[in-house]
Structure formats: C-alpha cells, structure tokens
C-alpha cells in the first residue's frame, strides 16, 4: 500500500467556490456548457470548448477509467500514483489514485471519486480509488 500523503489546501476563488463547497460534502462537480452541450474540467466560467459564458454546474457520477498512470518512486510521500481519469461524462481529470497497491494500476481500470482531506478547515481534494467494477 502507498503511504498517506499530506495534501496542500486548495485555494477556492469566486470562479471555483461552488466546486470546493460541493467537495466538502463529498460531491464532484464539473461544468456543462448550455451553448455547445460539452462538459469540461477543471471548471471555468467561460466554456473552453466554445467560449460561451452559459456554463452550468452539474454533479458528476464520480466514475471513470484510468487514461494513463505513473507511480512516483522518489521524494516525500512516495510511492504515489499520478493519473488522468476519464470521467464517464467525458472530461479527463488529473488526480491521484489512492488506497490501493500502486503497482496494480493499469490503463482502462475503473475508478471512483474518493475525496481526501487536505488541511484543517480547507476543502478536501478530488482523488480516485479503484472501484472493482
């Protein structure tokens, strides 16, 4: 098993506060565009696909599969897995795969959201863990 890493506190701003408030409740929010009907992550006020400002917050199911993964072997907290997870809604999320044997991870593996606490009083961070399905 990988050791427990310490995560720095994310700094919400006016554009992203909804995401972090939801994260504190264990909910993964992404953005959908009402003009081009495409989702994106990380969330922005203006859609990066079409430039429309009619983006809206939607709740992700928090499920997806590993697009690629690399295990860091050196330094503080190592070993830990860095990965892109492609959400079932479409967007890829840069994240960590936690609570697993990092050597067991592979492209295509199913994972689900598993928020990890950061610092006292700060929102948790969106990591993922193998879902076994």
């Amino acid at each position: 098993m990988m050791s427990e890493r310490r995560y720095p506190a994310p700094e919400p701003n006016a554009e992203t506060r909804v995401f972090w408030d939801a994260a504190a409740k264990g909910v993964l929010k992404i953005k959908n565009c009402r003009a081009c009907f495409r989702a994106h992550y990380y969330p922005r006020a203006i859609c990066p696909h079409c430039g429309s400002d009619t983006t809206e917050w939607v709740t992700s199911e928090g499920a997806g599969e590993i697009y690629s993964v690399s295990v860091m072997r050196r330094g503080e907290g190592a070993p830990f897995a860095v990965a892109y997870v492609t959400l079932d809604e479409g967007p890829a999320v840069l994240t960590n795969i936690v609570d697993c044997d990092p050597d067991s991870l592979a492209i295509g593996q199913r994972v689900r959201i598993a928020f990890k606490p950061s610092e006292e009083g700060a929102p948790p961070v969106p990591t993922f863990t193998p879902s076994g399905d």
């Binding site: 990380y42 830990f80 890829a92 840069l94 994240t95 492209i107 969106p126």
Partner: protein, 384 residues
C-alpha cells in the same frame, strides 16, 4: 512573407560550467552574452535587440539590459519554458525582418544546483485542481510514456537507446556532465524514478547557460563566420483544455514542426542533423514522430539499435550529448539545442560526431510539462 533568409545566427556560445557556486546568475548571463558576441565578432554596443525569459533575474529585460549596459530599440521576453530560446530565434528574425533591430542578443542562464530557484509561477488557473496531485515532470512525462507503450507497444529498451545514443556523443564533449558511454542494460538497471522512466531516462540538472546572436543578412555577410540562416520556424502550444479528447502521445511539435518545414520548403528526409529537446527519453521519441521523421507509433523502432548515433545511425541527434548527458542549464535545454545545430552547420562540432557536409539542420523543443500543458518551438537552419 516568409522568414527564410531574413536573419542569420552569427554568434553562439554555451557556457562551459555545469556547477557555478562562485558566480551570480546575472554574471552567467553576461559571460554568455560576451561569449556569443565574441564568437560573432561583435560587441555589446552593436546589440540593438535583447531577448530573455523568466530565467533572467529581476524585472525581465529591464533589469538585464541595464545590468549588461545595452542600448536597444527592441526587447522580447516571450516565455514558453525550456524551448523558449528556439522560439526567440524565430522572434528575433521576425523583428529583424520588420526592421525593428539588426543585432539581437538572446541569453539564458541559471544556477539550479547552487541556489533555490523558482521554476513555476504561482496562481495558475489550474493550481487549485492540480497542485495537490504532486505532479512533477517525472510523472507528467511518465504518463506520456505509459500511454505511448499502451497504444503503440513502445518498450523501455527502445527508450533506453535514446540515452545510449546521447552518451555515445557525450564521451567526446569535455564539458559533458555525464561523459560515460552507457548500455541499454545500464539504463534499465538504473533506479526507477517515475514509471516507466529510470534515472538514466532523465536529463541532468546543471548550472550554466548560453547565448545566441541573431543578425540581419547584411550584418551576417560582413562578419567572418559561416552563414547559418533561419530557413523556417514554427511554434504551438497544447494542453488538456477542458479534458475532452486527451491525447498524451502527440505533442505541440505536431504543429510547430510541420509549420517550420512548410516555411522552409523542405522535409524531414532533407535534414542532416537534428537537435531534439531531451528532457527525458520519451520527449525525443514523441517529437521525432511529431516532426515526421517516422509515423506515429514507429518512434520506438526508429530510435532502436543506434539509429540516432552520429556516424552509424540514419539521423544523428544531440551530438553534444544533449540534456540527457551534457547540459540542461536552469532546467532549460532550448538554447543548447540551437547551439549544437549551429556547431554542426559550421562544421565546428567535435570531429568524432561532426556530420559530413551538414548543410540543413532542425532544432526543436518542448517547454512546460508534456503531460499537462506545454509549448513547442521548431527552427530549420541552413548553412549557405
């Protein structure tokens, strides 16, 4: 309007140091500037354009121009990570073509081995969503390699050949940080840093720097150095940009490379020597594919069995030993890529690695983080 023959690289200098505890960073910039100007046969007072990036200490060009004692009428502090200085060559040519300057000085220097240096700017829009991940370049480029292996069957042995080729060249470079020839087995047996990249898949970290002098055609012809012309240039950026259609096996060089070749009116088959930014072995493999030296997915076969070794392989690359073995000053390998290409085109590379009749070369690079967001810059250079 094309940049072809609008500017020439008249001066090139790579600082010989790889560890500089007793010098300041501005001092290294100044020593590099003096070296490149002396190489060109010019002096500080000839310089009327100055180019630097965020490795330059202080308030960008304003601090450095004052420190160096320059009097310029054009400045450019374009920043695109390690490949910036390749891009600066093209931007200098643009400025020269428009009559904004005639003698452009480009400097890079830094001391990451001797002092704590800031590599990243705070407050990026993605920071809150990515900083916690602990993404370093090792895992960023590692994910690209894992995906390339998954899609194309690329192997660690094939990646190791890139390091082996660089080491064959580095043995002839008296300034190389790692001058020892290594084998594929030695690369694979070196410690794993971030899967699948071993320590010997990673470039060196060095203090040092370099400088280039890009001049107008009439200045180039008045000097005593061989004529090295800019024939074509391209630049591009790439990132997840919302996360749809993520593709870690193709870089921004898939746009900067073809743009440069199109402007130059040549193809990869015409290239005699290639400087390919080698922050990691995988960086080289993906760029070779993206520039069109081989098809996407064929990079592993292309680099295997010494194909990048000067004298034996079909495409001699990084004949100074590159970032993998010689020098990666301030985590930025763009300027040394241009410098070795200039040496090759002048016939001034080490005789053991000099490409015969080298009249056309490419220098290409990646800046930023290949697996996250990055830039690419490519120049085609020609000896006339």
């Amino acid at each position: 309007m094309s940049l072809r023959n609008r500017a020439y690289i008249a001066g090139a200098f790579e600082h010989p140091t790889r560890l500089a505890p007793d010098k300041s960073t501005p001092q290294l910039h100044a020593e590099c500037a003096a070296g490149a100007l002396a190489d060109a046969g010019l002096s500080l007072e000839d310089v009327d354009g100055y180019f630097c990036a965020t490795d330059a200490p202080g308030f960008g060009p304003i601090s450095m121009i004052d420190y160096l004692g320059l009097k310029v009428r054009h400045t450019d502090s374009t920043e695109m990570g390690g490949c910036t200085y390749i891009q600066h060559v093209a931007h200098a040519a643009e400025a020269i073509a428009l009559g904004k300057c005639k003698v452009a000085l480009i400097t890079l220097a830094g001391r990451p081995r001797s002092e704590n240096v800031m590599r990243f700017r705070p407050g990026a829009p993605e920071s809150a969503f990515e900083q916690f991940v602990g993404l370093t370049n090792h895992t960023s480029y590692g994910m690209c390699a894992v995906r390339h292996m998954h899609e194309h069957g690329t192997t660690s042995e094939q990646l190791a050949w890139i390091k082996v080729a660089a080491s064959h060249h580095a043995q002839h470079n008296e300034h190389a940080m790692l001058p020892k020839v290594v084998t594929v087995e030695e690369v694979l047996e070196s410690p794993m840093i971030a899967d699948p990249l071993h320590r010997l898949d990673c470039c060196v970290t060095t203090d040092g720097g370099g400088a280039l002098v890009v001049v107008a055609p009439e200045i180039a012809r008045s000097l005593k150095r061989p004529l090295v012309a800019l024939r074509g240039a391209g630049e591009a950026t790439k990132g997840p940009s919302g996360g749809l259609g993520l593709d870690l096996t193709t870089s921004a060089a898939a746009r900067s490379g073809p743009a440069a070749f199109a402007e130059a009116g040549v193809t990869p088959a015409d290239i005699k020597y290639a400087s390919i930014y080698d922050s990691f072995t995988i960086t080289v493999l993906i760029q070779l594919e993206d520039l069109g030296f081989c098809a996407k997915g064929e990079g592993g076969k292309f680099v295997a069995d010494g194909n990048l070794i000067s004298g034996t392989g079909k495409l001699p690359f990084n004949t100074d030993g590159g970032g993998l073995c010689s020098n990666h000053p301030m985590f930025r390998g763009g300027i040394t890529k241009v410098i070795e290409a200039v040496r090759q085109l002048r016939g001034e590379a080490h005789p053991a690695v000099q490409v015969p009749d080298c009249d056309l070369a490419v220098a290409t690079g990646i800046g930023g983080s290949l697996g996250a967001r990055h830039g690419a810059a490519t120049v085609i250079l020609e000896r006339q």
